[in-house]
């Protein structure tokens, strides 16, 4: 019902507004263009465009109600700093959106008329039908007044008319919401195309730019960290291994038993190096993920976690590598945090596909206090997710429990 009233208000109030706007803008535009030659037209036109912007802003406000979208306002170019008075005056003329506002003000009139008429008709029919029993007492007595049921051959008289019209009114009451919605959308469609289309594009571009920056920084950070890990881990170990082996080589001649021992410890060191390399390559691109997808990969993660994990994966499809990677690394990083900082006794992971999004939920009963601050592991995760258009939400009050939700579009 609220929907119907909103739509009705929009189309009814919109009609006089559109008429006023149309008059002002057409007149202003015509006068402005006509007097351009004597420079008088410049301020006239600029004024008209500013008025158009006012009407456009009002329309945009209504649009967000009718289309149930967050209100967006395109960016109007401000006058350059230090501009002279004339430059500031003609500034509206330089912005494309201003001209779109003007165009909308003029083209909007026929749309506003049509949607206004439609709305009035769709309200009039049920009102007239449902109230017929009240005024029908009078109208049936007018001599020579033929009513619709009589023309259709259903008979005549007050009762027949009342039943027929009341039923008709009921039918149109049911149609009313669709009628007003259609009328409102007819006008809103034009408004969206001319007034907020550009703004929506700008917002999308902003989002993408942010995502790209996040991706680039996430990748750069990952590479730096990888280099450091290789340097601190396997490289150092291999250097010490080479030293051990050369020591063993010298010992062989003098003291074979000591050489045995040295070689034995060298073999142990080799194994540790292999373990480290394995952990590193899992951190770059886990083979099981590319081979078999998310379900087995998450199971393997859960299997390596020191805290008992209750895993529930409700999707077996394969997704784009970027999406799978993002989900996997959120899971890996979070489990590492759970094992290191949370002091949790149990942890639950759930992965479901809801519509065109994959939703990963990780909860634990630990001490809480996780947050997406700079330098925290979670900040890197938020970046990773932004890079694939995803979002990270962390609820972790001090004292726990912690709940982390990652959502990634996978359409």
């Amino acid at each position: 019902m609220r929907r119907v009233l909103l739509d009705t208000r929009y189309t009814l109030v919109g009609f006089p507004t559109a008429v006023i706007g149309f008059v002002i803008m057409l007149a202003g535009f015509a006068a402005g263009v006509g007097t351009m030659v004597v420079w008088l037209g410049v301020p006239l036109l600029a004024g008209t465009l500013v008025a158009a912007r006012g009407f456009a802003d009002a329309e945009r406000g209504w649009l967000s109600d009718v289309l149930k979208r967050p209100p967006v306002r395109p960016r109007y170019k401000p006058a350059p700093p230090g501009a002279g008075r004339f430059r500031r005056l003609v500034n509206p003329l330089t912005s494309g959106q201003s001209w779109l506002d003007l165009l909308h003000g003029i083209v909007n009139l026929p749309f506003a008329i049509v949607s206004f008429v439609l709305t009035v008709v769709f309200w009039a029919l049920p009102l007239a039908g449902l109230t017929y029993p009240l005024y029908g007492i009078i109208t049936t007595r007018i001599p020579g007044n033929e009513e619709l049921p009589q023309l259709l051959g259903l008979g005549d008289g007050y009762v027949v008319n009342s039943v027929f019209y009341f039923a008709l009114g009921l039918v149109f009451t049911l149609v009313l919401p669709f009628g007003t919605r259609g009328a409102a959308l007819l006008r809103a469609g034009l408004g969206r195309a001319l007034l907020t289309g550009v703004a929506e594009l700008q917002e999308r571009i902003d989002d993408l730019a942010e995502g790209r920056a996040a991706a680039v920084s996430a990748e750069a950070n990952a590479l730096r960290k990888l280099e450091r890990d290789i340097h601190d881990g396997p490289q150092q170990r291999l250097v010490s291994l080479a030293m051990e082996l050369s020591r063993a080589q010298r010992q062989l001649a003098k003291d074979p038993e000591a050489a045995q021992e040295t070689i034995k410890s060298a073999i142990a060191a080799t194994r540790e190096t292999l373990d480290e390399l394995r952990a590193l390559s899992r951190g770059i691109a886990p083979p099981i993920l590319s081979d078999r997808g998310l379900a087995p990969a998450l199971a393997a993660l859960a299997g390596r976690c020191t805290v008992p994990v209750d895993l529930d994966v409700q999707t077996v499809e394969r997704y784009q590598a970027a999406v799978e990677n993002a989900i996997y690394f959120v899971c890996a990083e979070t489990l590492t945090n759970v094992a290191k900082h949370s002091r949790a006794t149990t942890c639950a992971i759930q992965l479901v596909r809801i519509g065109n999004a994959l939703v990963l939920t990780i909860g634990d009963d630990g001490v809480g206090g996780a947050h997406v601050a700079k330098g925290h592991g979670l900040a890197g995760l938020a970046d990773r997710l932004r890079a694939v258009d995803g979002e990270l939400e962390v609820q972790s009050p001090d004292g726990g429990p912690t709940l982390i939700v990652a959502e990634v579009p996978c359409g």
Binding site: R271, I288, R292, G303, P308, T346
Partner: protein
């Protein structure tokens, strides 16, 4: 004992061949990809094959697929899979046909020559050998009411070693307890988990344990 070796890395292949021949095995064929492996096993019917998971052309789990295919063509041909990574879902592919004579070890285990060769012999004899890392992934408590929680720490150790495919004497040696004590633990474990298996048939016992852990 006649062996087929499959690995796309020449260094590893050469190393394995040298190691096996030094200890009296006969390497009948060395191959570098999955199709060649299936063909070699079909042709030579070796006592056991040593197979790397990652091979061309796909460099994913080619070796594993080939091993499963070879076991379909030559039913129950013993295969020992070596890999840089152990993953439970790979182990499950090997266990799928429930015939035994399979093994799955980390490549590094080759460094411990005695253990590697013992595993190889056990697979050739129809047993089952799993890397401790696979078993520890399987042994993770998955739920709060997990029956594994009823086991004593010592019983959990025994169960883990059993899942790796170790024989009773080997388990006894590792935990420094008598054979009788090992048997007692195993009976108690099977009672607690509601499993049934004849103690005499070691391979069936391993499969029963692995099946339980995977469920």
């Amino acid at each position: 004992m006649r062996v087929v070796v499959a690995d796309d890395a020449v260094l590893i292949r050469a190393g394995l061949v040298r190691l096996l021949e030094e200890f009296g095995f006969e390497v009948v064929a060395t191959v570098g990809d999955g199709d060649a492996l299936v063909a070699a096993i079909a042709e030579h019917k070796p006592d056991v094959s040593v197979v790397d998971v990652r091979m061309p052309p796909s460099f994913t789990d080619e070796g594993l697929k080939a091993a499963v295919e070879a076991r379909r063509r030559v039913p129950g041909t013993p295969v020992l899979i070596l890999s840089q990574y152990v993953e439970v879902s790979y182990a499950e592919d090997l266990l799928a046909d429930a015939r035994g004579a399979v093994g799955y070890l980390l490549k590094d285990r080759v460094v411990d020559v005695d253990e590697f060769l013992e595993g190889l012999r056990r697979v050739a004899a129809g047993g089952t050998v799993f890397d401790p890392q696979v078993v520890s992934q399987l042994m993770v408590r998955r739920r709060k009411d997990d029956p594994l929680a009823q086991l004593t720490p010592r019983e959990r150790e025994v169960l883990g070693l059993m899942a790796e495919g170790k024989s009773n004497p080997a388990i006894g040696r590792q935990l420094v307890i008598s054979d009788g004590a090992v048997e007692k633990h195993i009976r108690s474990i099977f009672n607690k988990l509601g499993l049934y298996a004849e103690d005499s048939d070691q391979h069936r016992r391993v499969l029963a344990v692995l099946t339980y852990l995977r469920s």
